[in-house]
């Protein structure tokens, strides 16, 4: 197999798929994803590819122990997601899915900060397209809220890269010391990692995408940010407590959540918290733990979202307050979902057990016992909401509203079956995962002590669930998150500030350039749900583009 960047296989494949009819597009998407996985698996450790860009050496390919597992699991989930969405994905969705996977692999294989930034921003753009591909008002509005958040993150990242280049003369992406420039880079990474309180874009955006798109989305954005943090900021103490906050915040909001895909979205925030905390500890074992957990998480979260997506597809419902009683009609989906649920909960025999044990025990061994216990607290919440609450109120009992079920396509079952097999295989044979990790640190997950601890922790939580079941019964509610700042504050401030702004604008001389079209000038476009001012979006986009051009000029110059 020739050594070339699998990101380009996916990006070229995306362009090809965009020009094909739907049926041929489905076949080609799976073929491109399979080819990208083969190319990724064939890349030897140490492979590099560099280009001269106006005197700057850009490294578009760097395969090492940290990048390889991320690239492999990204290619794998793209393949599984394209099989899962075989009969539901449209052309835009396939194009955006392949392009997002290509951009995410480009991020993890980038050897310098400028290449990283290029793929980073490409990923933001393709994620927006992937969400928009659902072609519904709710997803368009969420995509338009996602865009400015990540635009700000991207501008911070680029500002940091530019400043770092000017102050050090280097664009190499290796471990970075925390300075003024690198703090901007760190903030850009944290936005994408959905670090609390910058996380609200994730449960806001992902569940509005199609069922197949959410499987892909769950893998790429946060995990490429985890990679970037592991590469750039291992051992940064601040990350331990950011990670712990994410882990706890995610489970608390998941317990409150009624929508099954939003619930799983909060668990992405929570699980990424485990990875960020391990990166903060920064020992070789802890970075191994973060990498193992990220890799396993892509597989089990993908499986969970396939299970939840199959329910949404079959019933047209996504709230537990409207579901229930699906055990008899979607039993196989329940079995596959539970494999993912046991994996995320860290039950022995499933992929989450060795991965989470490695991450959490390395945090304790790294001298952070308080963080370790707080993460165990988050593990209890994970088991409660993902493995007990969600299935209890979706598959068991009786439906809480009129629900009828359509047949789930065979390809969805195939994708779920393969993902379930992978999770069980890693759980039973952790060396499949551990052999891919960056550092050759020995770790034995299956010891009597760890097995007893895991079994007692989850067993007692299950008993507590029986006592708490009535309190966890679904209620048709919506939880307010930190996105209230940019979702509702503009709507509240707008009418109050508008008269003053109008007076101020009227006092200005008339502009010499053409006026902005009326729909943009009047405020929110109707399809955005009146929640984001397009003027802000437009201004932000132009400002971001100007900063980009300026930065490129400075860097190149």
């Amino acid at each position: 197999m020739p050594e070339f960047n699998p990101a380009f296989v996916l990006l070229v494949g995306a362009l090809v798929v965009a020009m094909l009819p739907r049926r041929l597009g489905a076949i080609t998407t799976v073929a491109v994803a399979a080819l990208a996985l083969l190319v990724t698996a064939g890349l030897p450790l140490g492979a590099t590819e560099t280009y001269d860009f106006y005197g700057i050496e850009l490294t578009t390919l760097r395969v090492d122990g940290l990048a390889r597992p991320f690239a492999l699991v990204f290619a794998s989930i793209m393949l599984l997601g394209s099989v899962f969405g075989w009969s539901t994905m449209g052309t835009l969705e396939r194009f955006a899915g392949l392009a997002t996977a290509g951009a995410a692999i480009g991020v993890v294989l980038a050897g310098d900060l400028l290449t990283l930034f290029f793929f980073w921003e490409l990923k933001v753009t393709t994620v927006v397209l992937l969400v928009l591909a659902r072609r519904r008002a709710v997803s368009s509005a969420a995509a338009m809220r996602y865009l400015p958040v990540h635009l700000v993150g991207g501008v911070l990242l680029l500002g940091g890269v530019m400043w770092h280049r000017v102050s050090t003369g280097s664009l190499q992406f290796e471990k970075l010391e925390l300075t003024g420039p690198t703090s901007l880079i760190l903030t850009g990474f944290l936005v994408s990692a959905a670090a609390v309180p910058l996380h609200a874009w994730l449960p806001d955006t992902y569940p509005t995408a199609t069922v197949a798109a959410m499987v892909l989305l769950s893998a790429f954005t946060t995990k490429s940010a985890v990679y970037a943090l592991a590469r750039g900021f291992p051992g940064l103490d601040l990350l331990i407590w950011i990670g712990v906050a994410m882990a706890l915040f995610g489970v608390v909001f998941a317990i409150l959540e009624d929508d099954i895909r939003r619930l799983l979205g909060y668990h992405i925030v929570s699980q990424v918290g485990f990875m960020v905390a391990a990166i903060g500890v920064g020992t070789a074992a802890a970075v191994n733990g973060a990498t193992a957990h990220a890799t396993a998480h892509v597989l089990y979260k993908g499986l969970l979202l396939m299970g939840a997506g199959a329910v949404v597809y079959a019933t047209g419902r996504s709230r537990t307050s409207e579901l229930g009683g699906l055990r008899g009609v979607l039993p196989v989906v329940l079995v596959f979902y539970m494999v993912g649920a046991f994996s995320i909960s860290g039950l022995a025999g499933f992929s989450g057990f060795p991965a989470k044990e490695l991450a959490v025990s390395s945090i304790g061994a790294g001298g952070e016992p308080v963080a370790q216990w707080l993460l165990k607290l988050a593990s209890v919440g994970t088991f409660l909401s993902v493995a007990l609450k969600l299935p209890a109120f979706t598959w068991f009992g009786r439906a809480r509203g009129p629900v009828s079920v359509r047949r789930v396509p065979t390809t969805m079952y195939v994708a779920m079956g393969v993902a379930a097999f992978a999770n069980i295989a890693i759980g039973l044979r952790p060396s499949l995962l551990f052999d891919l990790l960056p550092a050759p640190e020995p770790f034995v997950p299956y010891t009597a002590g760890k097995l007893v601890e895991s079994t007692v922790l989850l067993g007692v939580t299950a008993i507590a669930f029986v006592a708490l079941r009535a309190r966890l019964a679904p209620k048709a509610t919506t939880s307010l998150d930190t996105d209230v700042v940019y979702r509702e504050l503009p709507a509240w401030l707008g009418p109050r500030l508008r008269p003053r702004v109008d007076v101020a604008v009227a006092s200005l001389p008339r502009p010499a350039f053409p006026t902005v079209p009326a729909p943009w000038r009047r405020g929110a476009l109707p399809e955005l749900g009146g929640t984001v001012a397009p003027g802000w979006l437009l201004g932000g986009t132009i400002a971001g583009a100007m900063v980009f051009v300026l930065a490129l000029t400075v860097v190149v110059g």
Binding site: E322, L457, V460
Partner: protein, 64 residues
């Protein structure tokens, strides 16, 4: 090992009650709103990509 198991059992029990009761308190005090009261909210069947099937297999409904 038995002592460790007991400690982790008490921890799990306390953690379960703490998380559920704490989350419910937070929800009722600050965070939760009735569904359908927010612009661009998820779960409106009219906005669903896969609307509920008209002639699918019915699921037994809880009349209680």
């Amino acid at each position: 090992m038995i002592l460790d198991a007991m400690i982790i059992g008490v921890f799990a029990l306390t953690a379960s009650f703490l998380l559920v009761l704490g989350a419910k308190w937070l929800g009722s005090a600050v965070v939760s709103r009735p569904a359908g009261t927010r612009a661009g909210e998820l779960g409106d069947p009219r906005d669903d990509l896969f609307p509920a099937p008209a002639a699918g297999r019915p699921v037994e409904v809880d009349d209680a």
